[in-house]
């Protein structure tokens, strides 16, 4: 697929003797909303972390906009990427973490303005104006001068989303962004993501255990098990009529645990 924004080709990733990703292949179209589901340890978070260059891979190729992520061209041949190449590639990608990873020593506004000012040289006044728009978007404009420790989990995660958006990435990675939240705070974060999904043309990849959200939100769902894609398809098909028995067993467990799909 040449028009893919993300192209993952036979990627293998190991931790010691444990294989986390096994000859993985898939691609993502620009603007596509992709949900990655599956049991824990199936490798779905590792894919997001690898795309964010937080992990390296043993073999295979990842291309963003057709350009290799971990290699670069030099004198006509591909060599391992240097820091400058990774830096350039990362400008296209943003990530939101399960545990928010806000900077605890900076107020909400500074959390959002720091990266644009440092990495893009945006002037303070401009960065703050843009940050206030984003905080307004996630419903937290009144918390701009609060410290992260004063916020609830749901508020922290919405700040983290605003912080990632401030760099205007074309691809956003959401790694179990509601898993660490109290149940009553999940919805406020999902609402922000729904709004992003319907108002922007960002490519979004989310790893989630919220099946009903994945069902409503995603254009396509990938079911992972043991480092491979077992089954993929549009949510209506994959959730209601899965063909693979491992998918059926997984969904059955999810429903038994009380989740609506």
């Amino acid at each position: 697929m040449t028009d893919a924004i993300i192209d993952i080709d036979r990627v293998t990733k190991r931790y010691g003797s444990h294989t986390v990703l096994q000859d993985l292949c898939f691609s993502v179209r620009p603007g596509e909303k992709l949900a990655l589901i599956g049991p824990s340890g199936s490798g779905k978070t590792t894919i997001l972390r690898t795309l964010m260059t937080l992990e390296t891979i043993e073999s295979g190729t990842i291309r963003i906009d057709g350009e290799p992520l971990f290699q670069m061209e030099r004198n006509g041949s591909l060599v391992p990427a240097d820091e400058a190449h990774l830096h350039r590639m990362r400008t296209r990608i943003g990530m939101v973490f399960q545990l928010f990873n806000l900077f605890p020593h900076k107020c909400v506004l500074d959390n959002v303005t720091l990266a644009p000012m440092l990495t893009k040289g945006v002037r303070k006044a401009d960065a703050e104006r843009r940050a206030m728009e984003l905080l307004d978007l996630v419903g937290l404009a009144d918390k701009a001068h609060a410290m992260p420790a004063q916020l609830s989990g749901g508020q922290k995660q919405r700040v983290a989303i605003a912080r990632a958006l401030a760099l205007q990435p074309r691809i956003m990675l959401f790694d179990e962004v509601t898993s660490a939240l109290d149940p009553e705070l999940v919805e406020e974060v999902l609402n922000v993501m729904r709004m992003l999904g319907s108002t922007t043309d960002m490519t979004m990849l989310l790893v989630t255990h919220e099946m009903s959200f994945a069902h409503d939100f995603a254009d396509r769902v990938l079911f992972f098990d043991r480092g491979r894609i077992v089954e993929e398809g549009p949510p209506d098909v994959l959730f209601t009529n899965p063909t693979h028995e491992r998918t059926q067993a997984f969904l059955k467990k999810i429903i038994a645990a009380g989740q609506r799909i």
Binding site: L54, H87, G94, F103, P104, L118, M147, P148, A149
Partner: protein, 219 residues
């Protein structure tokens, strides 16, 4: 007895030298600690090796010996220092070596998730260190730096060995001239303790200031 005012003046002169040594020693120890502590975390093997060599050498040899080297041996290779310069150099580098380990440990105590947030926000290594890791690590460093500064204050008494008339040296002078032992040594005790309390108080205030807002209670 009429000379007591004069003797007290002598002691206060000594106290001033001690204060000067402590302040200048800390002023050297602090950058030395940051350079060597961050050097130990460098990606470059040479920088790491140099940092480890500095830290191990200055922690592993006595401050007396270091002082003698600074004052008596360096002149042999053409570097002549005044007693004050030699004292500041030895004290600063000695305490800086201990401080380097404080800096390293504090930076390493910052969780991996903060590093990852920096990568995801595309900060360079230096930007991450400068804006995210060091400001958080500094809070961890302050209490131990307070210990180091007090250690430095107390170690200043060794400079009397290279004829610098610090507080301890002057106390000995007063003692030998008056024959009184308890009074000059009591004065010394009180002054050292007052200095240490001052450092302690200052560091506590600094720590309070730096932790403001971090726990969500104080703003």
């Amino acid at each position: 007895m009429a000379d007591w005012a004069g003797y007290l003046g002598l002691m206060l002169d000594g106290a001033l030298v001690t204060a000067k040594l402590t302040v200048l020693g800390c002023a050297l120890a602090l950058p030395a600690a940051f350079l060597a502590g961050l050097g130990r975390l460098s990606r470059h093997a040479t920088v790491r090796a140099l940092s480890v060599a500095y830290i191990e050498f200055f922690r592993g040899t006595s401050i007396f010996v270091q002082l003698f080297w600074a004052y008596f041996v360096l002149p042999l290779i053409g570097v002549t220092l005044t007693p004050l310069q030699a004292g500041v150099l030895a004290l600063g580098l000695n305490v800086g070596a201990y401080g380097a380990e404080v800096v390293r440990a504090a930076v390493q105590s910052i969780g991996r998730e903060q590093h990852e947030a920096c990568v995801a926000l595309n900060l360079t290594r230096w930007q991450s260190l400068r804006h995210v890791l060091l400001p958080q690590a500094a809070v961890v460093m302050v209490p131990t730096f307070c210990n180091n500064a007090i250690e430095l204050l107390k170690a200043t008494s060794v400079v009397s060995l290279i004829s610098l008339s610090d507080l301890t040296f002057q106390a000995q002078v007063v003692r030998s001239q008056t024959g009184s032992t308890a009074l000059p040594f009591l004065t010394v005790l009180v002054i050292y303790f007052a200095y240490a309390s001052l450092i302690s108080f200052g560091m506590k205030a600094l720590e309070r200031r730096m932790t403001r807002g971090l726990d969500g209670l104080r703003t």
